[in-house]
C-alpha cells in the first residue's frame, strides 16, 4: 500500500475557537492509482493535501507513506520525505523567478545530492517528456502559464517520487492548456506514476480513475471506479 491514512484529524485553534478541518478521515491509495480529491472550499481538502505532502502533521491519527509513519518524523526527516517521495505541483506553479526551466527542474535534485551531470541529464529528459525540449533555457517569465506548469510537473518528476501531489494544477490556466496538462498527468499515470490531485472542478476530476468527495472535514463519497473517466482526445 502506497498511502494509508487512518483516522486522521486536524484541529486548528484560533484563540478559544477550535476548527476541525479534518475529522476522522481514513482511506488508502494503491500504487498506480490516479485519485482526485474534490470538495467545496472549507471542506478540508487543502489541509488533507498538506498532510499528504508531509508539509504538516496530523493532530490525531496516522499517515503511512511507503510504510513510514510520517506523523512521527521531525522537520528534517519530513524534508527528506518531501524530497525523495513526493513530487509537488502547485496551483501557482511556484517556479524560482529569473531562473531557467532547466535550473528549476534541478532544484530538488540539488537537495537530493544528485551529481551535476546526472542532474542535467535527468532535467533535460523530464523537460522533453512534458514537451518543453526546446525551452530549456527560458526563464519562467518567458513561458506561458501552461508551459510553467509543465516545468513544475517536470520538477515533480525529478526525484522519481512515490506520489505526485497536485494542488489545483489547472486553477490558473485556460481551458485548452488545462486539457494538455491533464493529458500529461494521464500519460504519467499510464507509465505507472501514482497521482493524487486536489481540485474543485468536476471536469478536471473526471480525468482521474477515482474520486474522493470531502465535505466539512469528512469523506462524503469515495468513487473507486470512475466510469466516466475522460480519455485523451487525440491519441
Amino acid at each position: 500500500m502506497m498511502i494509508k491514512v487512518s483516522h486522521i484529524s486536524k484541529i486548528y485553534k484560533t484563540g478559544e475557537v477550535e476548527v476541525k478541518a479534518l475529522d476522522n478521515v481514513s482511506f488508502e491509495v494503491k500504487k498506480g492509482e490516479f485519485l482526485a480529491i474534490m470538495g467545496p472550499s472549507g471542506s478540508g481538502k487543502s489541509t488533507l493535501m498538506h498532510l499528504l505532502g508531509a508539509l504538516d502533521k496530523p493532530t490525531k491519527g496516522n499517515y503511512f507513506l511507503d510504510g513510514e509513519n510520517v506523523g512521527k518524523l521531525d522537520d528534517d526527516e519530513l524534508a527528506e520525505i518531501r524530497n525523495k517521495k513526493i513530487g509537488f505541483v502547485f496551483q501557482a506553479y511556484n517556479l524560482l523567478p529569473r531562473t531557467t526551466a532547466l535550473k528549476n527542474v534541478m532544484v530538488p535534485m540539488i537537495y537530493g545530492d544528485v551529481s551535476k551531470e546526472e542532474r542535467t541529464k535527468k532535467a533535460k529528459k523530464y523537460l522533453q517528456m512534458v514537451g518543453l525540449g526546446d525551452r530549456l533555457y527560458h526563464s519562467s517569465s518567458q513561458l506561458s502559464g501552461g508551459e510553467q506548469q509543465r516545468v513544475a510537473i517536470a520538477r515533480a518528476l525529478a526525484m522519481n517520487p512515490s506520489i505526485i501531489l497536485a494542488d489545483e494544477p489547472t486553477g490558473n490556466i485556460d481551458t485548452k492548456q488545462a486539457e494538455e496538462i491533464m493529458e500529461i498527468f494521464q500519460d504519467l499515470n499510464k507509465q505507472g506514476h501514482t497521482i493524487v490531485m486536489i481540485t474543485h472542478e468536476k471536469e478536471i476530476a473526471e480525468y482521474a480513475k477515482r474520486t474522493i468527495h470531502l465535505r466539512d472535514g469528512w469523506i462524503a463519497e469515495d468513487n473507486k471506479n470512475n466510469k466516466n473517466q475522460k480519455q485523451k482526445t487525440k491519441s
Partner: protein, 407 residues
C-alpha cells in the same frame, strides 16, 4: 548537499538585486575602510613621535637641576643653580662611572639675536665640543665650537639652519659673518645640519656659543641648566642613571636620594610617555571606526531581513522541495558572509589607499600593520555571521505551508 552549488545559488541571488547588495556592501566598505585608515594613521603618528624623540639620541640621559629651595619655598623644577661645570667634569673623570661615554654640560637662555637689519628671538645654548656627539648634531658648513674656543672664551657662534635662514636669508652661507647677542659681537663659524623637529623641540632654531662665554660673558652665571650624558649603550641606561645619581648626591653632600637637588631623565622615559599618549589616541580612533563597522553590520541584518520577508514564498517552496533547515540557514548565512567578505576586501584596499594619501599629505610616515588588516577582515566575516544569523534562522524556521501561502 553540495556546498559549491549552495555558494553559486547564494551568489546568483545577490546579483539579482544589485543596488541593494551594493548598498549593503558599501556599509561594510565604509566600516572596514575607516578602521584600517584610522588605525594606520594612529600608528603613523605614534611612529612619527617616536622618531622625533630618537633624533635627540636614544641613549641619552639628561640631568636637570632640582627646584630651588630658599627657606620653605619651593621654586620651579629646573630653576635650581645646583649643577656646575665641575659636576659635569666629575662625571666623565670619575673612576667609578664606566657606563658613560661623553658628557655635555649646557647652559641655555633665550635672547634677541641681531644680524645687520634682521633679528630673531631664539635659544642661545652654551655648549662644549662634546655636544655634537652627545646630541647627535652634525655641521653642514664651517666648524662646531672647539676646545680652543671654550678655553679662550671666544666670541664665536654656530647657528642652527633655521636661525641662519632667519638672520641671513635662505641659501646664504653665514660663516664668517657677525651677529650680535646682548650687545656683544660674535663671529659665525659654522651652521649645524638640519635635524627637523618642531615647536620647543626644534633643534634647527638655535645659536650655539662656547659654554664659558655663555656663563661668564652673556649670562653671568656659574651653574648649568642641564647636563646631557651619552651612555655607552642602551642596555646600561639604568645603571648609568644610578651611578651618576650617587656621584652627584655625594658631590652635593646629600645622603638621602629623596632630597636630591637634581633629576635624571632618560629618553626611554620620554618615549614611554609619548607612546602611551599616542596609543590612547589610536585606541580612541579605532573605537570610533568600530562603531561604523557595527552600523554596517546592522545594515546587512536589515537587508537580509527584508530579503527573507520578500523571499518567503521561495523559502517555502525550497522547503517543500526538500531543503532542510540547515541548508536554508546556510544559504542565507552565506549570502550575508559574501556581502561582508566582498565589502571587507574593498574596505581594506580603500582604507590602505586613504591612509596612504592622508599620511603623505600630513607628512607622516606610512604605517601599515598586517595585524590590523587581518583583524578588520576577521571582524567583517564575524559581523556577517553575527548579523546574518538572525535572518537566516528566521528563514530556516519558516513553516513551509505558511511560507507557500504568503502573498
Amino acid at each position: 548537499m553540495d556546498y559549491q552549488e549552495l555558494a553559486i545559488e547564494s551568489f546568483s541571488t545577490l546579483t539579482l538585486n544589485k543596488v541593494r547588495t551594493g548598498l549593503a556592501v558599501l556599509g561594510v566598505v565604509i566600516g572596514i575602510g575607516s578602521v584600517i585608515a584610522l588605525v594606520s594613521l594612529g600608528q603613523a603618528s605614534q611612529r612619527s613621535i617616536e622618531e622625533q624623540i630618537k633624533i635627540l639620541g636614544s641613549n641619552l640621559l639628561t640631568v636637570s637641576p632640582g627646584a630651588q629651595r630658599s627657606g620653605g619655598v619651593r621654586g620651579a623644577a629646573g630653576g635650581g643653580q645646583t649643577l656646575t661645570y665641575d659636576d659635569a667634569k666629575a662625571i666623565i673623570t670619575s673612576p667609578q662611572i664606566i657606563t658613560v661615554k661623553k658628557v655635555s654640560p649646557e647652559y641655555s637662555g633665550r635672547e634677541q639675536i641681531v644680524a645687520g637689519r634682521n633679528n630673531t628671538n631664539t635659544q642661545v645654548v652654551g655648549v662644549t665640543p662634546e655636544y655634537t656627539e652627545v646630541r647627535n648634531v652634525g655641521v653642514s658648513s664651517g666648524f662646531f665650537i672647539s676646545q680652543q674656543n671654550l678655553d679662550g672664551m671666544s666670541k664665536v657662534a654656530v647657528l642652527g639652519p633655521q636661525t641662519a635662514a632667519d638672520l641671513f636669508g635662505e641659501g646664504v652661507d653665514p660663516v664668517g659673518k657677525d651677529i650680535r647677542i646682548k650687545g656683544l659681537t660674535f663671529r659665525v663659524v659654522g651652521v649645524t645640519a638640519s635635524k627637523g623637529g618642531s615647536g620647543f623641540m626644534n633643534l634647527d632654531d638655535r645659536v650655539y656659543v662656547p659654554l664659558t662665554t655663555a656663563q661668564k660673558q652673556l649670562f653671568g652665571v656659574d651653574y648649568l641648566s642641564s647636563i646631557s650624558i651619552e651612555v655607552v649603550n642602551q642596555d646600561v641606561m639604568v645603571e648609568a642613571q644610578n651611578q651618576v645619581g650617587y656621584l652627584l648626591l655625594d658631590r652635593h653632600k646629600l645622603n638621602d636620594p629623596a632630597q636630591a637637588d637634581f633629576s635624571i631623565m632618560s629618553q626611554a622615559d620620554i618615549i614611554g610617555t609619548a607612546t602611551e599618549v599616542t596609543g590612547t589616541f589610536t585606541t580612541l580612533l579605532s573605537g570610533i571606526a568600530a562603531i561604523s563597522l557595527i552600523v554596517g553590520g546592522i545594515g546587512i541584518m536589515n537587508i537580509m531581513l527584508v530579503t527573507v520577508t520578500e523571499r518567503t514564498r521561495e523559502i517555502g517552496l525550497r522547503k517543500a522541495l526538500g531543503a532542510k533547515k540547515k541548508i536554508v540557514n546556510a544559504q542565507f548565512l552565506l549570502e550575508a558572509v559574501m556581502v561582508t567578505f566582498v565589502g571587507g576586501l574593498i574596505g581594506v584596499v580603500l582604507g590602505v589607499a586613504v591612509a596612504y594619501v592622508l599620511s603623505r599629505s600630513m607628512g607622516l610616515p606610512f604605517a601599515l600593520s598586517l595585524s590590523s588588516i587581518l583583524l578588520a577582515f576577521g571582524v567583517s566575516a564575524a559581523i556577517g555571521v553575527l548579523f546574518g544569523w538572525y535572518p537566516a534562522q528566521k528563514a530556516a524556521n519558516l513553516q513551509p505551508i505558511e511560507a507557500l501561502r504568503y502573498e
